[in-house]
Amino acid sequence: MAGITITGVVKGFGATPVLRGVSLAVEPGEFVALVGPSGCGKTTLMRIIAGIETADAGEIVINERAVTRLRPAERDIAMVFQSYALYPHLTVRENIAVPLAMRRLSVLERLPLLGRLLPGARRKRASIGDEVRRAAAPLGLEPLLDRRPGQLSGGQRQRVALARAVVRRPAAFLMDEPLSNLDAALRVQTRREIVDIHRAAGVATLYVTHDQAEALTMADKVAVMMGGELLQVATPEAIYADPADLRVAGFIGSPRINTLAAEADAEGRVRVAGVPAGLRAEACGALTLALRPEALRPAAKGLPVAIEHLEFLGDGLLLHARHVPDGAALVARLEPEAREGLQPGAALRLGFAPGRALLFGADGRRVAARADAGLVPA
């Protein structure tokens, strides 16, 4: 079994630092999604792991083998590119066969006509052909084997790229935004297929995406990257419910998490706009109170807000409101039946359970908190 371990990877382009000491471990058989906004360095990190870029500092270990100084081909990894990077002049069958042919056939055996005449080449080619069919079948590519990439749809090309990655049985998969060129319906379907491929292959997979929905739905673990640093690596549930950093909380979740300026007195009692919020923080001074939209609901005691507008989503209702004391925008996700009696312009109080409130310090790091008397009903 194989895993990927990277330690202290640093990379800069000119004077611009892109990666500031990134360390990450992908356990054998684990699916890790590396997610972050555009330009955060996630693709650069993946290229460094693949060997396409070289790191300024740091170590990469794949399958318990230090590969930092090895060429891409020697690292025993397969990569799926955003652009698919299929060979346009080769058929689907030949595209999938390339990684095997390059490894198993000698230079002479690869020659166009002469190569077929050499002893042994015929048998090797036959076994490569079998493996190509085995890799293509589960992806439904068998009827397409003799077409060229130009004659395929985006989804079909994507599957060819996946088959080309799988066929070699590499020690690890790297996937660089493989779904971003597909339409929305196909994307959801292909997500499932990629997870199935990962399960069947059982090798470490690092999946780069800017789409948090992909990261949360597919991965065993999500690594959130911003500004060239890994902010948090945890299960999707923990990343969502228990973010370690305000930037993680803000990046993951849609609609975006609500934030309110708060402060804690010397004893840690948290106040929002001067009103006790029912929380006691293990810190004092300026804080940020963050609340997921589904943590807010209309209550007798709570944050005073003015309703701005309502969005009906079918399975839910988004209530857009403004916090009266400081004008901060808030979004609450309610049951669709809650619409009754809610009017734009009306005043309302939004309460929350203290267990669902997240507090962050001035540096953006999470601050521990527990319930206290205040805004919320005891």
Binding site: A50, L86, Y87, P99
Partner: protein, 269 residues
Amino acid sequence: MRARIAVLALLGALVLMPYLWMVAASVKPVSEIFRASLSIWPEQFAAAENYGKVLARVPVLHYLWNGVVVCGGILLFQLLFAVPAGYALAKLRFPGRGIAFGAVMLGLLVPPHVPALPLYVAASGMGLLDSYTALIAPFTISAFAIFLFRQFFSALPDDLLHAARLDGMGEWSIVWRVVLPNAWPAATAFAIFSVVSHWNDLFWPLIVVQGHEHATPALGVLYFRSEEAGDDFGAMMAAAVLMTLPLVLAFLLAQRRFVEGIATTGLKG
């Protein structure tokens, strides 16, 4: 639409006229060529006479074979050197790349007649005059080819090359198995320019070749005119038709690819 076709047809006819006249003259007797009235279609066919004279007096097939060897050799080496060079200039990062590309651009500016004298002296010094080597060697490295391939390869996506490296290809494999097969339009366009210009080249063969042994088709026509034909225009035109025939046939056979190549590389001459 119809008017446009008419204009194009007229222009096409104008361009084709000299060639048609040459073909027509090659099957006419001398008396008919020098007649005052103009007619394309001959009254008397003298094809057998004219072509027979050419085939009997000069080794036409030998000239054509020389042409194939020289043009084929030049093209082969040009591709052998220019494709990897173009790839390196387009896609690899190495110190001095900018200077190397600048040198290629400078090379484009030098007309072939400028280095003719030093090349002649060098060939003479090495005892290579009047040989295939002397005809082929000076053209094996083409700045134009390197420039053309560099421009074409620059447009290839980097991810394709990265994928090839991950699949286990070395840089040489990438050049011949990935880059060149995806550059057929550029390669065919370049092949036309190279073969046509060297098949028709008279300047350099005239300098380094003496005698029939290594004469190229263009030189052959010249020899035939000065030694054999005198003012026998019918036979001379027959010789010219024979020398241009391979190019015309090659074009007709691969017409679609040629047009494709020139259209997609933007190399309209």
